[in-house]
Symmetry: C2
Subunit: 425 residues, 2 copies
Amino acid sequence: MARPSPAPVGTAAATAVRQASLREHNLALVLRHVATAPRPPSRAELAATTGLTRATVSTLVDELITGRLLTEVDPTPRSGAGRPALGLALAGDGPVGLGLEINVDYLAACLVDPTGAVRHHAVRRIDLRPVPPAEALAMVAELITEADAEAARQDLRLAGTALAVPGLVTADGVVRLAPNLGWRDVDVPALLGAHPVLAETGLMVDNEANLAALGELRAGAPDPATFIYISGEVGIGAGIVLHGSLFRGARGWSGELGHVPVHPEGRPCRCGGRGCLEQYAGQEAILASAGLAGSPVARLVEAAERADPVACQALTEAAGALGVAVAGVINLLDVDTVVLGGVYAPLARWLAPPIEAEIRRRVLTAAWSPVTVRAALLGGDAAALGAAGSVVRTVLEHPARWLTTPVAGGRDRGRAGGGRPRSGG
Amino acid sequence: MARPSPAPVGTAAATAVRQASLREHNLALVLRHVATAPRPPSRAELAATTGLTRATVSTLVDELITGRLLTEVDPTPRSGAGRPALGLALAGDGPVGLGLEINVDYLAACLVDPTGAVRHHAVRRIDLRPVPPAEALAMVAELITEADAEAARQDLRLAGTALAVPGLVTADGVVRLAPNLGWRDVDVPALLGAHPVLAETGLMVDNEANLAALGELRAGAPDPATFIYISGEVGIGAGIVLHGSLFRGARGWSGELGHVPVHPEGRPCRCGGRGCLEQYAGQEAILASAGLAGSPVARLVEAAERADPVACQALTEAAGALGVAVAGVINLLDVDTVVLGGVYAPLARWLAPPIEAEIRRRVLTAAWSPVTVRAALLGGDAAALGAAGSVVRTVLEHPARWLTTPVAGGRDRGRAGGGRPRSGG
C-alpha cells in the first residue's frame, strides 16, 4: 500500500521509484541481518555483512530505531582493545502481532512482539459445535478487545491480526468448510471486520495447521526444511512445508490429513467418507477409547503418565493409525520430519514410538533415510502463536510499509517516527 | 562446461564474461519464443516480442540455424500487403535425445528431436527379474548401439542420453533400490558409462515416474500445473508436479505411491510392509485377479473391451484401491489432476470412473474442487519419451553449451557450424 505507483522508465520519477525500492530493500536487509545474527551486531558489523556503506547503515538503523523495529543494547564484552560499540537487536516494544485461534473446543488469543516473545496469552475452553458462527465470532471479538487493551497497557502497538480456523479458508478469508465446527461458507471478514481494531489494522484468516506449520518453521526448523506439521485436535489437519515454503495445493486445500483413509471400509466420518484417520486418531476417538470421553486432554496425559493400561493402549492404537497415514505421506513426499502439534504435542512421548515403528515397517527408504518424529517446538498453541508470528514476520519483511503507515483515526497504531505512545484502547 | 571461468569484477575479462552470459541468455530467449509461438515467427516478430534489436535477433538466429537448432520455414499466408517473411521453427533435424527405460518386464529406447517428434522407438519385452543387473544393462547397451545407428542413418546428431529406472536413484545415477527388479545399489554409470555413445555425450539416470511426469508436463499440461502422474507397471510409482515443478522430496525419494498402505493389515508386500497399494493395483495383481496371470496387459485390454465380467471386476477392484490412495493424495496435496500412465494408460477407460467415485466419496473438497482423472497424453511410453525429452529440453534451455561442444574423437556429435553430417555409428 505504501509502495510507489509505477512510473515510466528513464524519467526522474523512475529514479525516485528506484530509490524508494532501494530503501525498502535495504531496510529489510538490515533487519534480516540483525534478526539472524548470533549476537547483537554493531553498525560497523552490519556494514561489513550487508556490503552497505557505514553512512547508509546508520541512516537506515536510525530510521528503524525511531520506528521501534530496532533497539540499541549494551555491547557484548569482547576481547581486543577499544570501547565496544552498541549492539543492535529487534525491539521488544516494537509492533506486535495479534494471533487468534478458533477451534472446536477452545478459543485462543496471543500477542507476539518482534523478538518472538509472547506478551499476552488467553485461552477460553468452550465447545463451539452448538454455537452459531456469528456467536462464536462475537466471542473472538471479545478476545480481540481484551488483547488490544492489554497491548495498550504494555504500550505496544498492534501491527495486525491473523485468525486460525480448523477448516478450508479462501484467499479472501471465507471459511468454506470446517466440518468439525459445522461451518460452511462463513464470511469471517464480513462478520468480524467491523471491530475497530481490525478495521484499523486488518485481518488475515488462514487454516490453523498452515499457520502452526509456519510458526514451527520460524521457531527453528533447519533450513531448507521439509516437514509435515500434524495438528491433532477434534479434527486432524496438516501443514506441509517443502524446501522451506508452505505448500498450499493447487487451489489452497492441501493438508486434510484427517480425511486420508486408513481403513477404507472402516468407521463412517462426518465428511461422508469411511475410515478417515480422524475417526481413529482424532482427539475424541482417543479419549473415547481411553474411557475418558468428554474429558480434557490433560486427564489423558495424567493417565498416560501413571501408565494406565487403557489410556496407553488407546494412545498406541491411535498412533498406529497415525503411523499408517504418516508412512503414506513419507512414501509420497519424502519429508524428513514429522511434527506433532495440537493435543499431540503433550502426548508425543507416547505417540512417537508407535508412529516410528510404522515408518520403519512401511516406508521404502526408512532403512537409510531416517525420519524424525517430534513434538511441536511451540507446543499445543502453535496455531495462535504462528498466526501472531505471521503478522510480525510481514512487518519485518516489509518494514518500509510499517514505517510509513499513517496515523489512523487519532490512534497512533503503526505510526513510527515521533508518534506518541498509545493511550488506551 | 562451455561456461567461461570466473574472472575478477571490473576488468576486461569480466566484461567478456558478461557478454558471453548475455549471448547465452539471448540465444535461449530466442529459442523459447520460437518454441512457444502459436505459429513460426519472423525475425521481425521475434525482435518485437523479445525486445532485442533486429540486428541482434538476426545474428542469434543465424547462429541457431547453423547449429541446427532452428530452421526457416515457408511463411504462413497472412492478410496485409507485402511479401511475408520466412518463419522460424525448431529444427526437426537438430540434436536428438536418446531416452531409455528399464522396467520389470520390458526395455525401451526412443529418439526425440527438438520438435518433439519421435524418430525411433524400440521395445523389447523380457522379464528382467531373474536377470542380473549387469546383464540387463548389457541389453540396454545394445539398444543404445541400435539407436545410435538409427540416428546416424537419419543424419541426426545425439545430444545425450537419459535412462528411466523403476526405483530410487541417487543424484549420481546409482539405483539405490528397485524392489520389483530386485536391484540394490546398482552403479549404472559405472556399468554402462563406458559405452562409446555415453562416454561421448553423457548419461543421466532418474526414476521412471519422475521422467514420465516431466514428459507429461511438457506435452501440454496447463501452466502452472499441479498433478500426480501415476505410473502403473509391476510396481506403482508417482511423479508429483507442484505449480509446474517436479517435487522430488527432501532427499529425492518422493513418489513411492505403490507403498502407500490401503489395507493396513492386508497382503504382505515385497517391501516388508503390508497392504501396500501395489499388492492391489499393480499390474500383476490385476492380471491375477482377472484370471490372466502371466499374460501381457494387451490381453486384459481385449477382455475389458469385450466386457468380460471377470476382467471388468478385476479392474474395478484395482481402481477402488487406487481411488483410496488417490483420495489420500488429493486430501493431502490438493492436486487438481490425476494422470494415469504406464499400463494404466490403455486401461484408463475402465479405471477412471471407480477412481472418480472414490474421490467424490472421500475428498473433503470434491464437491466444489473438481479433479480430472485422465490417461497420460504420452500413453504407456511416457517414461522413455520423457527421458528423451529431458535431454532435448536441456539443449533448448542452454543452447550455447550445445553450440560450443567441441568435435570429439573425429565424430561430429554436438558439432555445430559447418560440421559434416555424421557418417555412421
